[in-house]
Symmetry: C2
């Protein structure tokens, strides 16, 4: 949800645009934080976005605003400009932002941009583009302050003074003569020691670090677990090549949560989808197919019971509610397990107690709803105790089965090293539907054929 502040800013700009009060717009934009300018730009349509962008006073504020936009949207926006302008804007950014945006540009434009970058910068950005987007290498910032073990505190402060453009220098990394990471030190500690102390004597030699190929999820887990503000990234030879800062970790955590939610619903894994309608349909097709095939198995399994449905046509009436209640309670269990596995609240040893707990919860809920639907079916069947029992027992059993599937399926997938998030959606619901309906026809067959 958008804050009230943003709504106010947008309303103001809209009013000023209508009044063509362009000087006022410029005055507001100068005072607005780049992150808020990015929200503003994202909000307006193409023409007005370009117009507002042109009102930004210099290339610095322009490239800051673009860097703060969602990188896919930024790439789309830059795609409309000429190459020269794109290169100017990208050269002005942090290399990690530039690399991300270049990675999202159309192939031809990104090649053109890289070829126009002057040697140094292109190398740095090119290096970043080599790493997979979802690894430490892909999200790291190659600008950091690294100092030799033999540096004194005073010399270190001088280096910080000379590197004003390096962001977030609250940790200083200490390296040996081979540029290998050997320690870390906070800016605070540096300030508190006497000027001629050498770093080797005050640094912390146990540094939590990651490798360029470490998955970004693991990076975010380490930063969160040890309450770090940044984590150093090393290559295969333990040479320090970049740092991942906590603000990027926050983006990763949000992105991973979004990815999990979308996967649970079988709706792809990226929220801002710049794909065409058919591309989007293609991304969602396979998960729907899983559901479709699962339910087709259901159709095949119910076919033998068509005779039963013809004799006892009232049974059809309760098919939907039995399926739905199973699906709902199964999704509850699966979500609890999937999210628990992702956040580390659930681990292997907890499987049995957790399943047993879910099962008892389902028993309480199943008996409650079984009794309720029993009452309804008793009334609708003109007070047939057989109908009431069949529907009521089936709902209780369907809910127990659903919780069993919803709890165990994600755990089994996790053991098979398949992301359990993919299992809650179509997988769990179709399995639960089919098993629930089968139970319903078997139970009601047994009870009603004794009539």
């Amino acid at each position: 949800m958008m804050g009230r502040k943003h709504q106010l800013l947008i309303d103001t700009i809209q009013r000023l645009l209508r009044r063509e009060a362009y000087t006022n717009i410029k005055r507001i934009l100068v005072k607005t934080h780049p992150a808020d300018v990015a929200v503003l730009l994202t909000h307006f349509d193409d023409d007005r976005r370009r117009f507002l962008f042109d009102q930004l006073e210099d290339v610095d504020s322009r490239s800051e605003a673009v860097a703060e936009m969602n990188h896919q949207l930024a790439a789309e926006f830059l795609g409309e400009m000429d190459v020269g302008e794109v290169v100017r804007l990208l050269l002005n950014m942090e290399s990690d932002d530039a690399a991300d945006i270049i990675g999202s540009l159309p192939d031809e434009l990104s090649k053109e941009v890289l070829s126009r970058f002057d040697k140094t910068d292109s190398d740095e950005v090119g290096d970043l583009l080599r790493y997979r987007e979802d690894t430490a290498g892909g999200i790291m910032n190659p600008d950091f302050i690294a100092l030799l073990e033999t540096t004194t505190a005073q010399e270190a402060i001088e280096v910080i003074r000379q590197n004003r453009e390096v962001d977030m220098a609250f940790y200083l990394y200490v390296v040996n003569e081979h540029e290998q990471l050997v320690g870390v030190l906070s800016l605070r500690k540096l300030v508190l020691v006497s000027p001629d102390t050498i770093l080797k004597d005050i640094m912390e030699p146990n540094v939590v670090s990651v490798r360029t190929e470490t998955d970004q999820e693991e990076v975010s887990r380490l930063v969160a677990r040890y309450d770090l503000l940044a984590i150093p990234v090393t290559d295969g030879n333990n040479i320090l090549v970049g740092i991942v800062t906590v603000d990027d970790v926050i983006d990763v955590i949000k992105e991973e949560a979004t990815e999990d939610m979308l996967k649970m619903a079988g709706a792809g894994d990226v929220l801002v989808n710049t794909d065409s309608v058919s591309g989007s349909a293609k991304a969602r097709f396979p998960w729907l197919l899983v559901g479709f095939l699962g339910e087709l198995v259901g159709v095949a399994l119910i076919t033998p019971f068509l005779g039963q449905l013809q004799t006892h046509h009232l049974l059809a009436l309760f098919m939907p509610i039995i399926m739905a209640m199973g699906g709902n309670v199964g999704t509850q269990s699966a979500t609890i397990i999937v999210r628990g596995l992702a956040t580390g609240h659930v681990n292997r040893e907890m499987v049995f107690p957790l399943f047993w707990r879910e099962f008892r919860v389902a028993l309480v809920l199943g008996l409650t709803y079984g009794t309720l639907i029993g009452g309804v079916s008793f009334y609708l069947s003109d007070y047939s105790i057989h109908y009431a029992l069949a529907v009521s027992i089936s709902m209780t059993l369907a809910m127990l089965i659903a919780v069993t599937v919803g709890t165990l399926l994600p755990i089994i997938l996790e053991r098979l090293r398949i992301d359990p998030a993919v299992s809650t959606g179509p997988f769990v619901t179709s399995a639960v539907d089919v098993l629930g309906l089968l139970t319903y026809f078997l139970v009601s067959g047994a009870l009603l054929n004794t009539l």
Copy 2:
């Protein structure tokens, strides 16, 4: 998922426990980070947890480990100890951690603990307990460094030297003589100016701050948007009362994502549920009731079509698959919208284009799956074109209706200021089920009665 490192640690401790090699266990624990000790403690059962805890060398490492545990689990763990020990452990923690844990203790124990706290600390913790848990006041740390505007850089460094126990002092807050927040300054800037510069001349007077009653979700949004490491918290008179640091913001972001996922599934809003089975069943009951009542409306609406089902009993066969496909595609749309609203990717102005996009995606998917199921029903009905058309058109329409409900329901709820996350689960699925089935019977009635 748990890291390999943790698995290794757990396996090692387990082996050493079996071998009763207690000295080795102690040696390992001394070298283990408190955050990892917490994972270890969480992993074992009550008896072994207590045993391992007793192996920790001093009260510092014990209280650090407890502070790193999930606060609800920590409260449960402390609940087994005697009050004296609990108080000793809590006095050793940061006040925000202590307050959180005390808030989760059983009522009687928490009162006893607070009464035993010595005056100063009890006040600080008591103050924190006054704020709602999900506000800036509830998550802030009341220990921070605040300096008067007239302080010099050299004096400021001296204050930092004297306050070694204050965490995360990378920002210094500047206040006037009434303790009101007037500016902020990074430690880095302080290091780079001449020692006699007064803070007023180098501080940034535009401070992003929050009030004690600000919702934690808004706090995390501001920290993430402006890439802050900490955000100051002020009371109604703009007096600085605490700071929220980025590590707590990370916890909030994870917690809010978990809450949204559980709400989407109607499974309560807290993952680690220390409630009893009946308490857990109670939390999940209302959402299931929404689904139940929705589906009962469905039962009532299908009743008039029972005659139709008796004549064309094959129709019953396709009820489940039409419901399921609608439910699946509707959940996909709802998830995309709900998560988009939560992350700010979706705003009010995007509603119509987004709906139109989802509708076209559903049209592609609906026609595809409609055709597929048409083929299946053509075969199963002994090549009746009427059956095939009825089933196929119904599935396409059901999927279009599902996407419409899934897209618009969360947006309507958001406008009514109801959390849209509650809408994806039982709300969307039961609405989709009922409307889908009704469409099915109306379409097939129209087509088959012309036979």
